[in-house]
């Protein structure tokens, strides 16, 4: 007896009918999380629905209201997309960190989000770019700010019948930049011990911070914004002291666990260092120093 049935609908309509059906219906985007979870019985499904053939879920384009990333679009495409690299550097960077080339060729940014791991690398980048999740079902469509999307480790607010259609990231204004860094003990192919994404928008005349957003991975039950750290920066000039204080506040926002990858204290220190570094990269990027553009 096979563990589950399989469908690969070519239209959103057809897919939503499947998701509204009886039993546990599970989406499969790249399958890099869900296939192993199904094989090892960590997740159950009566029906697995491959969502890669749905055109709306493969969208990747910038329009007046922002960047639309279809929920099944793979990390390789997002990482190499010139618009993403130019306006959403933290996202380009994080998509290029997910596993190996083989993994990035399949793994979707939307799959990374829906899997809802605290360590998900693309999520901090999406959070600092103020992403909204477009959720659809046979009942209709709703938009959820990504900050409200996660309800616990591996848990999202998606209801029975609902799937993520796309993520929308507003077009960032001039004099802004973003960056994502994570710490892993190896050079690649590992889960973040801690990850930090930062976004800065600066008034070029005064060097005052208009807007700051900082988000953390692997240091709380869900990916989180470090709002206290953002408030330290906003409305003030961007000085060394301010950056140091923001880094302290970001570490306070972290509520990490101790596990094999690192102790809670170590993770808090990492958040401090990575916050300082990502803010420095944002500053350089705004100043037009392209030395640290997202790597290949």
């Amino acid at each position: 007896m096979p563990a589950f049935e399989f469908a690969a609908p070519g239209t959103l309509q057809e897919a939503l009918k499947h998701f509204a059906g009886q039993g546990t219906v599970r989406a499969l985007a790249g399958g890099t999380d869900v296939i192993d979870q199904l094989k090892t019985a960590r997740r159950k499904a009566d029906l697995v629905v491959d969502v890669k053939r749905i055109p709306e879920l493969q969208r990747l384009e910038m329009t007046a209201d922002g960047l639309h990333i279809g929920a099944a679009r793979c990390c390789t495409d997002v990482h190499h997309n010139p618009t993403v690299r130019r306006y959403f550097a933290a996202l380009a960077e994080s998509a290029g960190l997910v596993g190996s080339v083989q993994i990035q060729n399949r793994a979707a940014v939307g799959g990374n989000v829906c899997n809802a791991a605290p360590s998900a690398d693309t999520t901090p980048a999406l959070l600092i770019h103020d992403a909204r999740a477009v959720v659809v079902s046979q009942r209709g469509r709703r938009e959820i700010p990504l900050t409200d999307f996660f309800s616990g480790p591996g848990q999202t607010v998606l209801q029975k019948g609902e799937i993520l259609q796309e993520l929308i990231l507003p077009v960032p204004p001039a004099n802004s930049a973003s960056a994502y860094l994570r710490f892993i003990p190896r050079n690649e192919m590992d889960i973040a011990v801690a990850g930090v994404g930062s976004y800065l928008e600066i008034d070029p005349g005064t060097n005052y911070v208009r807007r700051a957003r900082i988000a953390l991975a692997s240091v709380a039950p869900t990916p989180v914004r470090a709002r206290a750290a953002e408030q330290v920066l906003e409305g003030r000039p961007l000085t060394e002291d301010q950056v140091t204080m923001a880094a302290e506040a970001a570490a306070q926002a972290a509520s990490p666990i101790t596990d094999v990858r690192g102790s809670a204290e170590y993770r808090k220190e990492l958040v401090k260092v990575l916050t300082r570094r990502t803010l420095a990269i944002c500053q350089e990027r705004i100043a037009g120093v392209h030395r640290k553009g997202p790597g290949h």
Binding site: M1, P2, A3, F4, E5, F6, A8, L28, G30, G31, T32, I35, D36, L38, K39, V48, D50, K52, T76, G99, S100, V101, Q102, I103, N105, R106, N187, E188, M189, H296
Partner: protein, 161 residues
């Protein structure tokens, strides 16, 4: 539940078959089609022994369901050689000793083939990054990297002539 029909190209040949809905592409290739060049190591995406190309892009076939391959074009290590003539990359692995037990080799060959197609003249760092999803327990990687460099050079010279 009934089996599902799939129709896909493997190493240039059109294939039609019925598969179990929970079969992976790896199981289908090895157990059903007897294409045992593609290896199973970890079964969870970490070792790269099961690497194949799907529509020109590498993937771990242990993390792909057979149904996902419907309508796609798959290339396995058996499909690299052209009518029995090894590719420059395969020759380089033999000449440079890019393998010992050979278990990881099919995966490395697929990853490196895809890399050289995208980037015919990769730096050592680019090579190492691009095969980071392939593990080798024997060689220590240096000879694998050298094999890929050697192939890139040969292919470059050939193209220049």
């Amino acid at each position: 539940m009934a089996k599902i029909p799939i129709s896909f190209k493997v190493n240039g040949e059109q294939q039609e078959m019925l598969v179990e809905p929970d079969w992976t592409l790896l199981e289908t290739l090895r157990d059903r089609m007897r294409l045992t060049g593609t290896k199973e190591g970890c079964s969870n995406g970490n070792c790269g022994a099961c690497t194949v190309m799907i529509d020109g892009r590498t993937a771990c076939s242990c993390l792909v369901l057979a149904g996902e391959a419907d309508g796609r074009e798959v290339i396995t290590v058996e499909g690299l050689a052209d009518h029995g003539h090894l590719t420059a990359l395969q020759d380089a692995f033999i000449k440079e000793g890019g393998l010992q037990c050979g278990f990881c080799t099919p995966g490395f060959l697929i990853s490196a083939t895809a890399l050289l197609k995208r980037n015919p003249d990769p730096s050592e760092q680019e090579i190492r990054l691009n095969v980071a999803g392939n593990l080798c327990r024997c060689t220590g990687y240096d000879k694998i990297v050298r094999s890929i460099q050697d192939a890139a050079q040969k292919m470059g010279t050939r193209a220049a002539n």
